[in-house]
């Protein structure tokens, strides 16, 4: 069965609205995705009929709520190929997942002077600042991979960067600016032989690509629900169970303990150890529904659709005079996020004129300032696609760019 984008769009009520008198053309899914009714309905039904706190009550509502929450965890585990639901830790978002990992690993590894953490110039600030701060706290040294001119990870100095001093390597799996999908096979092998842990920021890859954590070669990954049809306020840290079992807690409080006395506390096994306090229950259940929706359509089919759209968009954009694309110019090893510049026009102005035409793109440094610096620009305009994006929307973007050139011509 071929992928029917028009049928998919009917599941997303937001596409019925207009923006500034034009049909909504939403090209900002890398920022946050839109939500299908299937997710919205499940969340509403939960609040209306099953609401209770989880893991704390013997009563019926508490039991039903716990079942729904743990059921979502199990389905998310299956979705990413985890060995067990216990490998899925619910967090607030990717950012919290990465901060959890940075704090907990820093303590577990007793990170200190002489130790090294390796990241890349391609990171979102979420996978950059937590490691910078960890290094400042512990005296460890932060090092990083560069970016090549065509927007790929520069692995040419892999052997000098990842050495026996390296304790943690943390990299973006798919860049939120350049769209690059990093093949981490070589880096994973090098990290393993150096005895370093590998974390991947999968915020942009889990929503868009079929992904299997067993095959990926990482020890930990982070992703965020709102970029994959789920609500805000829910994210995931996945980790190998034997690793999670060794990691100390990050936030402390209710639900993460085994026993507490005034003299001391022992901690629950993962994932509960890392889920202090009442979690975002409805949001976790919503993310479970999102994963069901994505699974129903098939991640391979979704990816194929996005590749088609991306190829179309790369063609369309490169035929607009004065447009420069940052990142891989072909669809090989890239996903459906395309950043570009319009000669002589600041991205803010591009974004403003497109918005007047109902075309919603993101402008700015995309929380990845070093990526902009790498290409010597203060900001970029970014169009990003998802399972509901159509070629007609790409045409609207191209027409909008003609208008931009008229205003600033």
């Amino acid at each position: 069965m071929s992928f029917d984008v028009e049928r998919v769009r009917k599941d997303f009520p937001i596409f019925e609205r207009e923006v500034n008198g034009h049909p909504l053309v939403y090209l900002d899914s890398a920022n946050t995705s839109q939500k299908p009714v299937q997710v919205l309905d499940v969340m509403r039904a939960h609040q209306e009929r099953y609401n209770g706190n989880v893991s704390r009550s013997v009563h019926t509502l508490g039991t039903e709520s716990t079942e729904a929450y743990e059921g979502a965890r199990a389905r998310i585990a299956t979705f990413i190929g985890a060995a067990s639901p216990d490998e899925v830790v619910f967090t607030k978002n990717s950012t919290e997942a990465i901060n959890l990992a940075a704090h907990s690993l820093g303590q577990m590894l007793r990170l200190g002077p002489g130790d090294e953490v390796v990241i890349s110039e391609m990171e979102h600030h979420s996978n950059l600042v937590p490691w910078q701060l960890l290094c400042e706290r512990t005296g460890a040294t932060l090092r990083w991979f560069g970016i090549s001119d065509d927007g790929r990870l520069d692995e040419s100095n892999l052997d000098e960067l990842v050495t026996e001093r390296t304790k943690i390597v943390s990299l973006v799996h798919m860049s939120n600016v350049l769209g690059t999908v990093n093949d981490v096979t070589r880096i994973a092998a090098r990290a393993r032989s150096a005895g370093a842990l590998l974390m991947l920021d999968c915020s942009q890859s889990v929503p868009h690509l079929p992904l299997d954590v067993q095959a990926l070669g990482a020890d930990l990954i982070a992703f965020t629900g709102h970029k994959m049809l789920g609500p805000t306020g829910i994210g995931v840290l996945w980790g190998r169970l034997d690793l999670l079992a060794q990691m100390p807690p990050f936030l402390a409080g209710g639900s993460m303990i085994e026993t507490v006395t005034m003299a001391g506390t022992t901690f629950a096994p993962p994932p509960a150890r890392f889920e202090a306090g009442t979690p975002p229950i409805t949001e976790a259940i919503g993310l479970g529904a999102a994963v069901d929706y994505l699974t129903g359509l098939g991640m391979a089919a979704i990816h194929e659709h996005e590749q088609t759209i991306t190829r179309y968009a790369l063609d369309a954009l490169s035929s607009v005079p004065g447009v420069r694309i940052f990142g891989p110019a072909t669809i090989e090893g890239r996903g459906g996020t395309v950043s570009f510049g319009v000669d002589g026009v600041h991205p803010h102005d591009v974004g403003q004129i497109l918005d007047a035409l109902g075309v919603e793109v993101r402008v700015g440094h995309h929380c990845a300032r070093p990526v902009c610096s790498r290409f010597s620009v203060p900001a970029m305009t970014r169009a990003s696609f998802y399972l509901y994006t159509t070629t007609a929307e790409i045409d609207a973007l191209a027409r909008g760019l003609d208008q931009v050139r008229k205003v600033f011509g």
Partner: protein
Amino acid sequence: MLLDGLYQEIILDHYKNPHGRGLRDPFDGEAHHVNPTCGDEITVRVSADLGDISYDGLGCSISQASASVLHELLEGKDPAAASEIHHAFVELMQSRGQVEPDEEVLGDGIAFAGVAKFPARVKCALLPWMAFKDAAARAGVDVGVSPEVKA
């Protein structure tokens, strides 16, 4: 089009042909401001008598045109006059389009009245003015208290 209020001819003219752009020496006070959400940057230099105001920056048409208008309006003014204009501009930008600008005071600055209706762009327009205020303070010139700047 909806954008006519934002991209007035006057703004586009200042953007394409900025007045007084480029940093000059000597100066008595300098300030560098950035807009962390969008990465726009500006550096403003002033002499203690406001006889020379120079600037350089990276940014959208609104922030760059605003710097050009600032240069045109404030260079060579005495501190009291500069304060009055500064105050009027900041107030206009925070009016959400509810204040009728006074051309006598604001000159080409009145073209920014439309920008006040686009909350996301008000910061762009104010960036050079806030940098100017800091640079002037460092040069020992007090342009007075502006209305509180809200993001």
